[in-house]
C-alpha cells in the first residue's frame, strides 16, 4: 500500500507491484489473438474459396448435391458463430467439452480454439467478398488462356483478393485483441483476467483498469501501424514512371502518389 492514499501514488504502486502480471496477461492476449487471427484467416480462405466454386450446368448431379450440402453446412457454421456472442460460445465449448466429451481443455488452448473458429466465420465472408471484388475480366483472362479453376484461384484471384481484404483482416486482429477479454469467463489468464485479480486484491478498480486500458490501446495501435506498413509495402512504390506513350514513345510520365 502506498504511503499517500491518493490517485497517482496508487497507480504507480500498482504498476510497480503488478507489472509482471500485466506483462504476462498482455503476452497471453497477444498470443491468443495473433494465433486466432492467423488460423481464422486460413479457415476463412478455405471456406471463401469453397463457397465461390462456380457450379456449371454440366456438372454431375451427385457433385452438385454434395457441393450444395457442403455449402449449407458451411453457411450454418458462419451464421451460428457470427450470430452468437463469443463470451457465450466460450462457455458452451469449454464446459460442454468437459461435460459431454469429458474433455478438459486447458484454458489457453480453449481460448485460441474459440477465437480461431469465431474469426474464421467472419473471415469466410470477408474472403468471399474479396474474391468477388476481383474484376471479372481477370477470371475470363485466366480461363481463356487455359487455367483451371484452382490455378486461377491460386495464381490470379487470391493474390489480388488477399491484398484487397488486408484492411479488413487487420480490423479482425484489432477486434480480437480487445475481445479476448471475454475469455476471462473460462479463466484464461489474459490481460483482463490479470487486471481483475490485481484490482480485487486491492479494491482499486479505477487505477488498475486505467493501466489496463493504456496497455490495450498501445497494443492495438502498434498492431494497426505495423499492418498498415505491410499494406504499403505490398502496394509497391507510390511514385513510378510510365515509360512512353503511343504518340510520344520517349515520354516519361511520372505518377506521384496513389490516391
Amino acid at each position: 500500500m502506498p504511503a499517500d492514499n491518493s490517485f497517482l501514488p496508487w497507480v504507480i504502486f500498482i504498476f510497480e507491484r503488478y507489472w509482471p502480471l500485466f506483462l504476462r496477461g498482455a503476452v497471453n492476449t497477444l498470443i491468443i489473438s495473433l494465433t486466432g487471427t492467423i488460423i481464422g484467416f486460413f479457415i476463412g480462405v478455405v471456406i471463401g474459396v469453397i463457397r465461390t466454386i462456380p457450379v456449371e450446368h454440366n456438372t454431375g448431379v451427385l457433385t452438385k448435391l454434395g457441393y450444395k450440402i457442403l455449402n449449407f453446412l458451411l453457411l450454418c457454421y458462419i451464421e451460428v458463430f457470427r450470430g452468437t456472442p463469443m463470451i457465450v460460445q466460450a462457455m458452451v465449448i469449454f464446459y460442454g467439452a468437459a461435460m459431454i466429451f469429458n474433455l478438459h481443455l486447458s484454458p489457453l488452448f480453449a481460448g485460441i480454439f474459440i477465437v480461431s473458429i469465431n474469426t474464421g466465420a467472419y473471415m469466410s465472408e470477408i474472403v468471399r467478398g474479396g474474391i468477388l471484388s476481383v474484376d471479372k475480366g481477370q477470371f475470363e483472362a485466366a480461363h481463356s488462356i487455359g487455367m483451371t479453376h484452382s490455378q486461377t484461384m491460386a495464381h490470379i484471384v487470391l493474390p489480388q483478393a488477399i491484398r484487397n481484404i488486408l484492411p479488413a483482416t487487420s480490423n479482425e486482429f484489432v477486434i480480437n485483441i480487445k475481445d479476448t477479454s471475454v475469455l476471462n469467463v473460462i479463466s484464461v489468464t489474459e490481460l483482463f483476467f490479470m487486471s481483475k485479480s490485481a484490482a480485487g486484491n486491492n479494491f482499486r478498480y479505477f487505477e488498475v483498469f486505467l493501466i489496463t486500458c493504456i496497455i490495450y490501446f498501445v497494443m492495438t495501435f502498434t498492431v494497426t501501424r505495423i499492418l498498415r506498413y505491410f499494406e504499403v509495402l505490398l502496394d509497391g512504390p507510390s511514385v513510378y514512371t510510365i515509360h512512353g506513350s503511343q504518340t510520344v514513345p520517349e515520354a516519361e510520365i511520372r505518377i506521384v502518389g496513389r490516391e
Binding site: N58, G137, Q138, A141, S144, I145, G146, Y240, H243, Q246
Partner: protein, 373 residues
C-alpha cells in the same frame, strides 16, 4: 482451320447464335462484326469452349472440339480479351509467359521467349520486362495482351474487341502492328469488333452478324461494293460507299476545259492561256472532236517556226472515256505521271478534263463526304 457446322446457342429460350456455318481458312484474318447482342462474342467464345454450343459442331483442324479437354484446348489457342486483362500483380514478363508457365516450359526458355516477344513489339526488355502493368500506357498494356496470346506460338488467335478501350491514335498504331504481325507470322485470327473501320482495315473476310445470324460474309471490297441488304449498307456507312472506286470519270472531271480551234494563231492562244490562267489548252475542231493538246512549253519552243495551233498540237494525247471508273483514271495519271487527262465520249467528242485538282476534290469528298450529296 476452324469450321462451324450448323452451330446454335440458346440461353434460356433466348437465341444468341442461330445455325451458324462458317469456314475459317488457315492464315486468314476473319472479323466478326455486328451491333451489340448480335452473337459475335458468343461465336468467338464457342471456339475455345468458354461457351458450349447448344447444337452443331466446331472443328479445329478437322477435330471436333467437344473431344478436346477445354483447358488443353485453350492452351493451344491465343486469346486477347475485351478489357486489357493483364494480371496486375505480375510483371510484364510474367504476364507474357503465363501460358508457357502453364505448359511447364523450362525457366530459361520462358525468359528467352518473353524477351523475344518484347523485342518484336519494339519494347526494350531491359526496360519493360520487370515492370508492372500499371506502369505502362494503355496501348503498351494491350500490346502485352497481344504478346501473351502469341507466347506459346498458337496457330489460331481469338480476339474479342481488343482495341475497344484504347484512344484512337493507339488503336490505329496497334491495328497496323497487328496486321503486319499476322502477315509475317501467318496466324489465323478471328477478331470480334463493332467498329466497321477496324473490320475493313484488318480483315481478309468480314462476317456481318445480326440477331445471331450471318447476314453477309465477304471481303472488305465486296462488302463495300455490294452490301447484301439495307442493314449491311447502313452498317458499312454511306460515306464509305461513295468510294472513289465506284465513281466514274464523268462525275469527277472538270466539265468546261479551255479549248481552241486548230486555226487559232499562237499569239492569240497565248493571250487566252494567260487570261484563263492555264498552262495547257486542248485543241478541238468545230464539231467538238478532240484533236490534240498544246502546253505552254511547246508554245515557247515552237513560236519561231509555226503560226497556227493546229501545226504544233500534240496528237498523241492519252485520253479516257467518260464512263471509265474514276479510280482507273487516277491510277493512269499517277502511273504515267500525266498532268492532265482529257475525257472523251465514244465519238471522241471532248467532254471534260481530269486534272490533279479533280483527283484531290474527288478524294476529299470521299473522305469528308460530299456536301451536295
Amino acid at each position: 482451320m476452324v469450321i462451324f457446322k450448323a452451330v446454335s446457342k440458346h440461353y434460356n429460350g433466348h437465341i444468341a447464335v442461330k445455325n451458324l456455318n462458317l469456314n475459317v481458312k488457315e492464315g486468314e484474318f476473319v472479323t466478326l462484326i455486328g451491333p451489340s447482342g448480335c452473337g459475335k462474342t458468343t461465336t468467338l467464345k464457342m471456339v475455345n469452349r468458354l461457351v458450349e454450343p447448344t447444337e452443331g459442331d466446331i472443328l479445329i483442324n478437322g477435330r471436333n472440339i467437344r473431344d478436346t479437354d477445354p483447358v488443353a484446348l485453350r492452351r493451344q489457342i491465343g486469346y486477347v480479351i475485351q478489357q486489357i486483362g493483364l494480371f496486375p500483380h505480375m510483371t510484364v514478363e510474367e504476364n507474357i509467359t503465363v501460358v508457357p508457365t502453364l505448359l511447364e516450359w523450362p525457366a530459361t526458355k520462358r525468359r528467352a521467349r518473353g524477351h523475344e516477344l518484347l523485342d518484336m513489339a519494339g519494347m526494350d526488355p531491359v526496360i519493360y520486362a520487370n515492370r508492372y502493368p500499371s506502369e505502362l500506357s494503355g496501348g503498351q498494356q494491350q500490346r502485352i495482351g497481344v504478346l501473351r496470346a502469341l507466347a506459346a506460338d498458337p496457330p489460331l488467335i481469338l480476339m474479342d474487341e481488343p482495341f475497344g478501350a484504347l484512344d484512337p491514335i493507339s488503336r490505329e498504331v496497334l491495328q497496323d502492328e497487328l496486321k503486319s504481325l499476322q502477315k509475317r507470322l501467318h496466324k489465323t485470327i478471328i477478331f470480334v469488333t463493332h467498329d466497321m473501320d477496324e473490320a475493313l482495315k484488318l480483315a481478309d473476310r468480314v462476317v456481318v452478324m445480326r440477331e445471331g445470324e450471318v447476314i453477309q460474309e465477304a471481303t472488305p471490297e465486296e462488302l463495300l461494293r455490294k452490301p447484301a441488304d439495307d442493314f449491311v449498307a447502313s452498317f458499312v456507312g454511306k460515306s464509305r460507299r461513295n468510294d472513289s472506286k465506284l465513281l466514274i470519270v464523268e462525275q469527277v472531271m472538270q466539265p468546261n476545259p479551255v479549248t481552241v480551234l486548230p486555226s487559232v494563231g499562237l499569239a492569240q492562244c497565248l493571250t487566252l492561256m494567260k487570261r484563263k490562267r492555264v498552262d495547257t489548252v486542248l485543241v478541238v475542231d468545230e464539231e467538238g472532236v478532240l484533236i490534240g493538246g498544246v502546253s505552254i512549253e511547246t508554245l515557247d519552243r515552237e513560236h519561231q517556226r509555226a503560226y497556227r495551233i493546229g501545226e504544233i498540237a500534240d496528237h498523241n494525247l492519252v485520253t479516257v472515256l467518260n464512263s471509265t471508273p474514276a479510280k482507273d483514271a487516277f491510277d493512269l495519271m499517277v502511273g504515267d505521271q500525266l498532268k492532265y487527262l482529257p475525257v472523251v465520249d465514244e465519238h471522241r467528242h471532248l467532254r471534260g478534263l481530269v486534272t490533279r485538282t479533280s483527283m484531290v476534290n474527288a478524294m476529299a469528298s470521299v473522305v469528308w463526304g460530299d456536301e451536295n450529296d
